[in-house]
């Protein structure tokens, strides 16, 4: 099926938008009238520009408040429509979207609506145009797909059909099941948008919070199946009003949008991607360090019980190990700055299939410089710029490292990587969720919001089904301004232990100090014994318990190298989160330590 995108999804001028849509591989666009009105390109120029870019114009939109109105007003609207048909002819677009009326004085009368739409369709027909009638979820009287379909049936004109928009349909209580029974050929256009479940006015929800398919909570595949069952063969077209996308780089947004359609088509079985192989664990995490941050991180790793086991044959890169947890320190940085998680590696049952799938989903390939004889490690670049390597558990990438002679001992009892905490760039949080889900098959477990000392935060937990690969993606709810700590958004690696008390006792790096007030409150909140709380407090261990009684014990380190810290977690039974309620405690303590070193 052809893939289209509404210009309103993208930021910039019309030319910015067309360029971005074409570069991402779209076949067509929905042209939003406002984008044309502010453009210096005449309609014929827009048509030519689109043709040059390989884009068709699939829909012109919208006509508003046209139906269900008084006769005088309707005649004015017909005159207006005539002018717009001329514009459409110059653009070379043949379908126009007519939204159900929201006018306060709109008349509640299906016969009137059908008669007016018929009159409009006759005019359209004279110009070789078609009318796609859409029930806005907040339409004055016509606000559900089934009512718009009854009106279109009553009008019964070949130039009049339906536009179905997943948001307008799925945000309402009316079941979409009957869509499959719509007369073939009468769905003129299909618009796709996802959205999170939000308790708010439906118009505001629609105008500010739509997302691309797979980024929200709606069942898009189920919806599209119904539309396909009704014989629809037009484009899959995205129409997403989103405050962030409106101000983000349109080239990036268009690729995110295209990825959402590719993944949706895979779900629908329209075009098959290589299946996502099962991921089996974290292979290594790489930090980029410079002359300042390197020594700090080495000292921290030593304090956590890691051993420096290997030195890369050709590069200034060190391997540190404990249990199956492996940290790579890469000093080959071109620009000095705070330490950062520059890459992480996951193991896959079939790395080449993982990478083929990633490529089909437009994940940028990470350029890897490899010396002869070195292991071939292939990577993709995540939305936050981190390189994600995909390796096989049997790959011996460690052979690229010369043994230092120091073996990894029991250390402090750290066994493996539990999760990575990756602060996301503000513009790319929803993109990242879809990226990891579609490319690596990491499921969205939950999203939490919490009040941190420097503003509200959102944290999204994603993981593979076996929970051997977990990521915590975080973002500030509003893009931060000048007032924020120097290290507002640190990154971190969390390690597992089965006995955090013993591990904590074995550490020679200090745990982040946790306030006594926290333990006082903890005892009151969870009715814990004084002994248990005292044991936690003695080691700066934090505590969380989910509604099922599963427990998390965890501790944080201070920030090292300017931007990274470590966490140690002991999950008791099936605790499946990241102790988000304790994040503000960490953030306040890290700030306190920075101000009082």
């Amino acid at each position: 099926m052809r893939r289209s995108i509404a210009t309103v999804c993208l930021s910039g001028t019309l030319d910015d938008k067309l360029t971005a849509a074409a570069a991402a591989g779209f076949d067509g666009i929905e042209l939003f009238e406002n984008d044309l009105v502010v453009s210096p390109m005449a309609p014929a120029e827009v048509r030519k520009r689109c043709a040059d870019l390989g884009l068709s114009i699939d829909l012109y939109q919208p006509f508003r408040d046209l139906d269900s109105v008084s006769e005088g007003r309707f005649r004015n609207s017909l005159d207006r429509a005539e002018r717009k048909f001329d514009v459409m002819a110059a653009l070379g677009v043949h379908t126009v979207l007519v939204c159900s009326s929201v006018a306060p004085d709109a008349v509640d009368d299906d016969d009137l609506a059908a008669a007016q739409l018929t009159a409009l369709a006759e005019r359209a027909d004279d110009h070789g145009m078609r009318i796609a009638y859409e029930a806005l979820a907040w339409g004055r009287h016509v606000s559900t797909w089934d009512r718009s379909w009854r009106i279109v049936q009553r009008a019964d004109h070949p130039a009049l059909g339906l536009c179905l928009d997943s948001f307008h349909v799925l945000s309402r209580e009316v079941s979409p099941a009957g869509i499959a029974g719509i007369t073939p050929g009468k769905i003129f256009f299909l618009q796709l948008a996802d959205a999170p479940h939000l308790s708010m006015d439906v118009l505001q929800w629609s105008r500010h919070h739509r997302l691309f398919p797979g980024q929200g909570a709606f069942d898009l595949p189920g919806f599209v199946r119904l539309v396909l069952a009704a014989g629809y063969r037009g484009p899959l077209s995205l129409e997403v009003f989103n405050d962030v996308f409106r101000q983000a780089d349109p080239a990036r947004t268009a690729i995110d949008a295209m990825r959402s359609l590719i993944a949706l088509e895979d779900d629908l079985g329209i075009r098959r991607l290589p299946d996502a192989p099962e991921l089996t664990g974290h292979a290594f995490t790489e930090f980029a360090v410079d002359g300042n941050s390197g020594p700090e991180l080495r000292s921290a790793l030593r304090g956590l019980g890691f051993a420096h086991t290997g030195q890369h044959r050709t590069k200034p890169v060190e391997l540190w190990e404990q249990g199956t947890a492996r940290i790579v320190l890469n000093s080959a940085v071109t620009q000095p700055g705070p330490a950062a998680i520059s890459a992480f590696a996951v193991t896959s049952a079939d790395p080449s299939r993982s990478l083929a799938r990633a490529g089909a989903l437009l994940a940028p390939a990470h350029p890897n410089v490899r010396e002869p004889g070195e292991a071939e490690l292939a990577a993709i670049t995540a939305p936050d710029g981190t390189s994600v390597f995909v390796t096989h558990p049997g790959d011996d990438w460690r052979a690229d490292f010369l043994p230092t002679g120091t073996a990894a001992g029991p250390g402090a009892g750290l066994l493996a990587v539990d999760h990575l905490g990756l602060a996301q760039p503000f513009d790319h949080f929803d993109e990242a969720g879809l990226f990891y889900h579609s490319v690596l098959n990491l499921d969205h477990l939950a999203t939490e919001e919490y009040a941190a000392p420097f503003g509200l935060m959102r944290s999204r937990a994603i993981a593979n089904p076996s929970r051997t690969v977990r990521l915590a993606l975080t973002v500030a709810l509003l893009r931060r301004g000048d007032w924020a700590p120097a290290v507002a958004d640190p990154q971190h690696v969390a390690f597992t232990t089965t006995d955090i008390i013993a591990t904590a006792a074995a550490l020679t790096v200090p745990a982040l100090p946790v306030p006594d007030n926290y333990y006082e409150d903890l005892a009151a909140r969870f009715a814990l014994t004084a002994d248990f709380v005292a044991a936690l407090a003695a080691h700066g261990i934090l505590y969380d318990r989910d509604p099922s009684g599963h427990e998390l014990l965890h501790l944080y380190t201070p920030v090292f190298g300017g931007r990274v810290f470590f966490e140690i977690v002991e999950r008791r039974s099936h605790y499946d989160r990241f102790g988000e309620p304790n994040a503000p405690v960490r953030m306040a303590a890290q700030r306190h330590r920075r101000l009082n070193p």
Copy 2:
């Protein structure tokens, strides 16, 4: 009355918050439990720190889900409360806020609620504490002030009273009028928050969008009068959950908060400020220019018909005039950069009273360097850093300028300044609205949101009653990121004319090119005659019409000096806005011109 602020209003750690509250002159705080829990200061240290800063702790909050629950759960809550009473004793706070239960299994039984609150009040009494019971607007069963009052009456315990929060009361349909009849002494605490009218879930509305009094749409003075009529004499305490304030500089937010209380007290007649004298017009607008932007602005002013009439006696400052519109170009900038509106001057019937009022409202005085014999011009600094001078119409500040010998002629027919367009810093948009309203008595006429090429924009029109001083305050709905034009937020001065066609013909500076598509759409939208539209198009004039038929004709110039542009407006009859629907046309055209100079 004493003035308090909840720590949740401010960003940062507890110490950041206390410091900011004290510096802004607050007498006390409401201590939010989470702020204590993450703080390394023990309760006794917090008490001492507050005392050192001259702050009392007026309320500890909140206890949640304590009433209307099962007996077992209630006993646990009592144990929890006992621990908190000890914490409160160490803090030296005697009142705790208990919110009505939101637990899904809360019982709908006033007798049970009253009995449990009585049991809690007895425990509190033993510790010398008091319980302030508050109906959350989204409480499971108790969600209105009158129901919470019935329960408190039924409980009838001296250590149990009400907490009234303006948001929870005014966001509901229940009339607040009966508050005046509450038994004196039974309102234990008063929390104040304003909010805009929003169609959304009341909990989300409350948690994200509260504002300080005077910044929203609620009738705070009316509400407080009812509470005072019931004999309340405790603190006026602000409790504002706001996403922006949570991440803005707390020192600034605390002053904004204090200004809101000072203005409220003035409204209530509790403490009188000097009355705001009537403003009578714009005296001058000053641009800071450097060696690059100066020549560009001079050329633009000449093209607009301005004459360079005066040169400052001692400073590199030029006066340009046309009609009563006066522009000052100040080259005494310390740092080169784009041109900017560095100051503007308004005329007041009583400048010294205007400035006394401004001072009482904590408006920072602008340091003015004046040579002997020069006019005394006093100014304050607005939230965006612009200096606002207040002069008398009779002041001869122009005597500081030596005549150049060029007189101001009829120019292009510009008569006066219509308005200034001031892009506001993201963190200070609501602060600016309150600042101009309280300090200069500029009324909030309307706020509009529109989709611009680089994201959603909010524009707030403010003006004096006679409309001789108007400002358009604008801000991006989300703080902008990397993807934005170089001149995302230009500033501008708009001038009036009574014949924009003649003025446009007399200009020698080019008007900003307006797309033909705009005129094509305009004709369709407003059913204008072809001749009229052609006349507009010939000069790049834009058009708007309000629902009453009042018209605006206006044109824009390109951006000069990197960040400023000019506008010419002809208001027909009583058009009272700024042509906001045309702003996206301007923004797209300015970007187009920048990319295609």
